[in-house]
Amino acid sequence: MKPESRAFKTSATQALTNEPLRKALGGIKHGFVANRAKARANLPEFEQLRDEAKAVKDHTLAHLDLYLEEFEAKVSQAGGHVHWAPNAEDARTVIEKICREANAKTVTKGKTMIGEEIAINEHLASAGITPVETDLGEYLIQIRNEPPSHIIAPAIHLTKAQVEADFRRIHKDLPKDRVLEEPGQLVAEARQVLRDRFLSADVGITGANLLIAETGTSVIVTNEGNGDLTQCLPRIHIVIASIEKTVPTLEDANTILRVLARSATGQEFSTYTTYSTGPKRAGDPDGPEEYHVVLLDNGRTEMLGSEFHDMLRCIRCGACMNHCPVYGAVGGHAYGWVYPGPMGAVLAPSLIGIDEAGHLPNASTFCGRCEAVCPMRIPLPKMMRHWREREYEKGNTPPRYKLGLKLWAFVAKRPRLYQALTGLAMPLLARLGKRSGRFRTLPLAAGWTHHRDLPAPQGKTFQQLWREREARP
C-alpha cells in the first residue's frame, strides 16, 4: 500500500472522533492486555525467557550470513528453492514469476505482514492473478479495501455490524434473508465461503514467524488453521519472509515461541504452530509439489549494525501497540502504513524513509510501556529518539519548535540569565493568574490551553526564595 504516514496528525485527529474505532480500541485492555498479564503470571520463568529470547536473536544477528547459508542449504536438500530478494520489487517479480509458471489463477494467502510490506496483492491482481486472504481479519479488510490496523488483529477496528454489512455486500450468492447478527454466524459464513477458495487455489503464500537454519524449516503460527490450509492444499507453497526471521535451532525456536503467543494474545501457545520443510516427499498423499522461500532484505541489512540494530529482534507480537497510549487513542490506520504503534514508529522510517514517516517516532510520550512489555527487550523509545536526532540533524524539525527549543537551551545554558528572566516572568505571570490560579488562555500557549487550563506559577522562583532565605541572618 502507498504510505500515508505524512498525514498522521490529521488522520489521528479524525480517528479520535471515530466512535466505533474508540469502542474497539477500548476493548484491547480487557483482551490482549489482560490476557498477557495472566499468561505472564502463569509462567514464573517468563522474565528469564525474555532475556533468553533476546540472546537467541542477538546471537543469530551476529552470525546472520552463516545461518542464512545453512538455511538455504537445508531447504535445497529437502527439495525446496530459496530465492533472494534485495528489495520489494525483486520479491514481487520472483513471486509473480513462480505464479505465472504455475499458470496460477487464484492464490490463497496466510497472514503475512511482509506481503503487505511489498504490496504483493496489488501486484498479483494487476498481473491477472487473484489473491484471496484467508485469515479472517485479513479477509475482512480485503473486502473493504483497507489496510490492516494491527499486526496481529488486522480488523480490530471493525464492529460486527460493519462485518455484517460487508458480507451482505460481497457474498451475493447467499440467501438475502439469512441471519448474520452474531459473531458465530459471521465466522461460519466466512468458513463456508473461504473453504472453496482453499480447495481451488493454485498457489498458497504464507509468511514465516521463524526460519530454522538447523533443518531448513519455515514456521507459521495461527489460531484459525488458515495458514495450514493455504500451504498444504495448493500445488505450490511460497513462503515470503524477511531475513531476520532466522533462528539457529529447534531449541531456539522453542524459546521464541514460548514468549510469542503469551505476549501477543495471552495464549499459552497458538492453536496451530506448523513446521514446513521442503515440498511433499515420496509417499506423501498431500502437501505441495513445490516449496519456495523468498528471503527479503528490503532495508534489513541497513539496520544491521546500525543504531536500529535491536529492532531486528522484533517477532511481530503486537504487545507494544496493545500497551501504547497513543495507539490506544488513534488506532492503526492513522500511522498510514503497514506497521503501526511503537514498532511501526521505529521500523517504518527505516523502510519508507524518515521524510515520509517522520511523525511516527515523534508521536510518543516516551512512557516506556512498549519497552516494558516487549518480549525481545527492544529499547523502542531510545530508537524513536534516534530518529528524532536524525531529523534534527537534517533540519526537519518544524521551525517554530526549533526556535522555541533553541531559545530555551540558550537561556538554560546561562544560569544567571535564566534566573534573571524567570525571576521577572514568574512573579508577573503569578499576578496575572492570581484570581483563579490558572489561565484559560495565554499567548504562545495555545497548544496547551486549547484543551486544558494552565496552572499559574506561585510567584517568585525557588532560586529567588532560596537566596532570600540564605541571606537572612
Partner: protein, 262 residues
C-alpha cells in the same frame, strides 16, 4: 558505593530543583528540603543549575543536551547525593546522562560516577535513608498517579505509597490504570495536542471514578497536565506534589487553584 562520610557526619545532598519546580511551584522544593533534613541530610541548592536538558534531548538536539548535562554535573557532582523531586528529571540524570555523554571516555566516566549519586526524592527517602513513615497529617481521600519515567526507569511504585499510608488521616485509594501515561510527554502535548488530550481525558475519567478528593504524583509536568484538564472539565480535585503532603505543607493553594479553592 557512595562516599558516605565517617559515621556521625550527615550525608550532603545537592538538591536538583528542576526547572518546573523552580519556576512554577517552589513550595515543592521547600517540601523536599524539609523531608531531606528530616531524613538526616544536609541540603544545599547550587546556583548554577537550570534544566536537565530533556526537552533538547527528546527533540534530537544532542549538542545542547550534552552542554546542559555537563553543566548540571558540574554543579552537583561534589555532593554525596543528588536528589530531584521528579522521576523524569532524576531518570534523565541517572540513565540518560551516561548514554548522552558516552563516546568520550572522560565525560562518560564522569557521568557514570555522577549517575551513581542520583535519586528521585521519595525513593531516596525510603530506599536509601530508610524512612518508614512521616509525621504529617492530611485528612482526605487521596489517589496516586505513577508517572512513567519514575515507574519504568526508576522502579518507583511502593515507596510513595508506603509513606502516604503513614500520613495521619489520609485515605489512599488506587485509581484504575494508575500506571498509564497521563499524556504530558514533555513536548508531545504541544506537538500532538489532540492525542495528548484524548489520553489525559482517560486519565481524568479514572481519577474521577476513584472517588477521591486529592490527586498526588511525583512529577510536576504530569501534575500540571492533569490539574489543567481536571479544572477545564470542572472536576473538583485538589492536585499536589506528593512531597507537599509528606512534608505536611498543604496550607498553600493546590496546583492550578487559588487560595480560596482549597
Amino acid at each position: 558505593m557512595t562516599n558516605e562520610k565517617a559515621s556521625g557526619a550527615k550525608p550532603s545532598v545537592g538538591l536538583f530543583v528542576t526547572c518546573l519546580v523552580d519556576t512554577i511551584r517552589p513550595s515543592v522544593g521547600f517540601a523536599a528540603i524539609k523531608l531531606l533534613e528530616e531524613a538526616g541530610c544536609t541540603v544545599e541548592v547550587p546556583r548554577a543549575q537550570t534544566c536537565c536538558g530533556q526537552p533538547a534531548y527528546n527533540s534530537g538536539d544532542k549538542a545542547d543536551a550534552r552542554t546542559l548535562a555537563l553543566n548540571t554535573i558540574a554543579a552537583l557532582e561534589s555532593y554525596d547525593y543528588v536528589v530531584a523531586p521528579s522521576g523524569s528529571c532524576a531518570g534523565m540524570l541517572k540513565h540518560h546522562y551516561p548514554e548522552l555523554l558516552s563516546g568520550d571516555p572522560n565525560t562518560e566516566s564522569r557521568a557514570r560516577a555522577f549517575a551513581e549519586k542520583v535519586h528521585e526524592l521519595v525513593s531516596f527517602l525510603v530506599d536509601i535513608r530508610g524512612m518508614k513513615s512521616v509525621e504529617a497529617k492530611y485528612a482526605g481521600r487521596v489517589t496516586y498517579h505513577d508517572s512513567c519515567a519514575g515507574l519504568r526507569e526508576l522502579s518507583i511504585k511502593d515507596q510513595p505509597r508506603k509513606l502516604l499510608v503513614s500520613v495521619q488521616g489520609l485515605n489512599l485509594e488506587e485509581m484504575e490504570e494508575a500506571e498509564i501515561c497521563c499524556g504530558f510527554g514533555g513536548t508531545f502535548c504541544i506537538k500532538y495536542p489532540d492525542i495528548s488530550n484524548a489520553i489525559v481525558e482517560k486519565k481524568t475519567a479514572n481519577i474521577a471514578a476513584s472517588k477521591t478528593d486529592c490527586l498526588l504524583a511525583g512529577d510536576l509536568g504530569c501534575l500540571m497536565n492533569m490539574a489543567g484538564k481536571l479544572s477545564r472539565e470542572g472536576r473538583e480535585m485538589e492536585v499536589r506534589h506528593v512531597a507537599e503532603v509528606l512534608a505536611g505543607m498543604t496550607d498553600g493553594p493546590a496546583i492550578g487553584a487559588n487560595g480560596g479553592d482549597k
